[in-house]
Symmetry: C2
Subunit: 340 residues, 2 copies
DNA sequence: TTGTACGCGTTATCAA
DNA sequence: TTGATAACGCGTACAA
């Protein structure tokens, strides 16, 4: 509401009081329908509200109430990932659903540049939100620091922040990767490789570690293709590299379903059949898994559940409860379909 | 900031003033680095700020300044579309980039239920945003009504709102559909069908109208498969229906790239070659187009550009400029690749 | 150069 | 049941 030529000033409680011939206190009572207001006063005030077109200024209310009834949801991803990763959307929706139930407004803030980082940090310290959910914080993130400094109730989703004292909700990527790899080996595959993505992040590094654990003595570093993102295009490239390195390959663990979808494409172009020649497994159980041909065997990541639990954690902290130490880990069932 | 057991009260300007032994006015001047403050006072105050851990309360500042330096970005989509539609992400990023440049905070609000609608409406009228960008408003949307009532600077993206007096930025779906269909016909196809999605929305209806226009006397209503969403799964179903209705089909216009990707899958399962037996064209030029086999010929939708222009329109209105009557239409080049 | 006092739009606490 | 009046945290004329 900049001082704006065309637009008229918004009516305030004061205007309503004048119009109805009562005091501001009484108007306030009607608005928050509190008791102790006469029927006639109520009627007069409601009419006045209508006439002057009054809508309450929540920002002013928050100032005096010392709370905003809003929780921030911060997304901090590179372009490609933000657009490609179906998990983020589900996490978002899950968190929104839980906050909505508690009558909290979720405000989603995107960090896509250096400028954004500073501005969002200011926003968080500005008193606009009572708490915050963070998806994919970076190492040494200014956002993480400001959250700590403010003591803002928070929940990190996906993986724990640097300082393990901050609450988080996630999955055990290492165990999950171990489990699906073991399952793949149980089908009798002998030369199994991995397309490993996002090794600069916990999730990526942990999935590789789980894969390595499961293979044990069978592990061959030459059978690991490293690619930057959890993306389809990276899956294509990774699979080509793997096939070049080892034509006899008969199994692949892709770091995500999008990567697995890319791998299937590369296998098709190389004339390999799936699961006949090569067994393929992914990670996420996202929409990708069901649109692959053949349907993808994968690890189910409870994305909406992560969002919900993160929101519930923040709400609990707002009620004064202590957050779980060590974070919350959700279980990740294996979904076995046709690709292995 | 609920009255919270563990968390200490946040320091205010008052605290800093006390600590530094000056008045609040001087502290305020230092914070907004205005002139007329002595070097010694500045130093003392900066030290005091550090000691008491002061961070400005932007919410309070906004109340007195009568502006929030924030613009809302409202997404109102059904689950499936929100997760599947790559355009939304690009629009979001485009808008964020433009707002960020002007030092405005973009706050994204998700509407996913009836509760959400009311809460978001309250949020908009609460003085938290100076303007708003809306993606896919519905007919008779309470959000649209509240925006009008408040006279909140706004920009609708994708298609015009019910009341054409509100500013919008979009593309000409009808002309674009006409152009790509004509191009498809120019390759010599004679039995051309369409998979039409989202006919309850302007974009969907307009694309069908453009298709009909282009076909002229060749148009055959039996060759239109109607599906609810711009989604992959709907493309598969639609294509199957089309093939059942007309085995001799040699061209298809899919209402979106995701739909086209589904159509390609159905064609593959039916043993048809593309573009040999059937030419396929899509709409959007999203990530889908490049991960199809063969690469998709399609209409380029400037999604990021839509977001940018919407943001710029809101910013212009905030400066007191009048919005363009009749909205802004961006051009949509045809991108011809391999699928037709 | 600095301090004072008022206003932003609410809620909350008193007396009346 | 109602009406003053004091907060909430800040910016800003105006006076000193």
């Amino acid at each position: 509401m900049v001082t704006n030529p065309g637009r008229r000033r918004r009516a305030t409680i004061h205007d309503v009081a004048l119009e109805a011939g009562v005091s501001r206190g009484t108007v306030s009572r009607v608005i928050n329908d509190e008791p102790y207001v006469s029927a006639e006063a109520r009627i007069a005030i409601e009419a006045a509200i209508e006439r002057v077109g009054y809508v309450p200024n929540t920002a002013a209310r928050n100032l005096v109430m010392q709370r905003s009834q809003a929780v921030g949801f911060i997304v901090h991803e590179p372009h490609s990932l933000f657009l490609e990763d179906p998990n983020i959307g589900e996490i978002l929706l899950g968190a929104n659903a839980a906050l909505s139930l508690a009558d909290f407004q979720m405000v989603c803030l995107i960090i896509d540049s250096e400028r954004d980082t500073d501005r969002v940090a200011r926003y968080l310290s500005g008193g606009f939100v009572d708490g915050v959910i963070v998806v994919s914080a970076r190492k040494n993130d200014p956002i993480t620091r400001i959250i700590e400094k403010l003591g803002l109730p928070s929940a990190f989703v996906g993986h724990p922040p640097d300082l393990r004292r901050l609450p988080f909700v996630g999955i055990d990527n290492r165990s999950s990767a171990f489990a699906i790899t073991e399952r793949l080996l149980a089908t009798g595959r002998r030369r199994v490789g991995m397309i490993a993505s996002a090794l600069d992040r916990d999730s990526g590094a942990d999935r590789l570690a789980g894969f390595t654990d499961a293979l044990g003595p069978l592990f061959d570093p030459a059978l690991v293709a490293r690619v930057p993102f959890y993306a389809y295009a990276d899956g294509v490239k990774g699979m080509r590299a793997l096939l070049a390195a080892e034509p006899e390959l008969d199994g692949v663990f892709a770091a995500s379903d999008a990567v697995a979808a890319g791998a299937l494409e590369a296998l098709r172009e190389a004339g390999r059949s799936v699961p006949g020649d090569v067994g393929v497994v992914g990670f996420d159980d996202s929409a990708w898994a069901l649109r692959c041909q053949p349907l993808l065997s994968t690890v189910h990541q409870p994305a909406a559940g992560l969002g919900e639990r993160a929101a519930e954690s923040v709400l609990a902290q707002l009620r004064g409860e202590e957050p779980e130490l060590g974070g919350i880990l959700l279980t990740t069932p294996i979904v076995w379909r046709d690709s292995a």
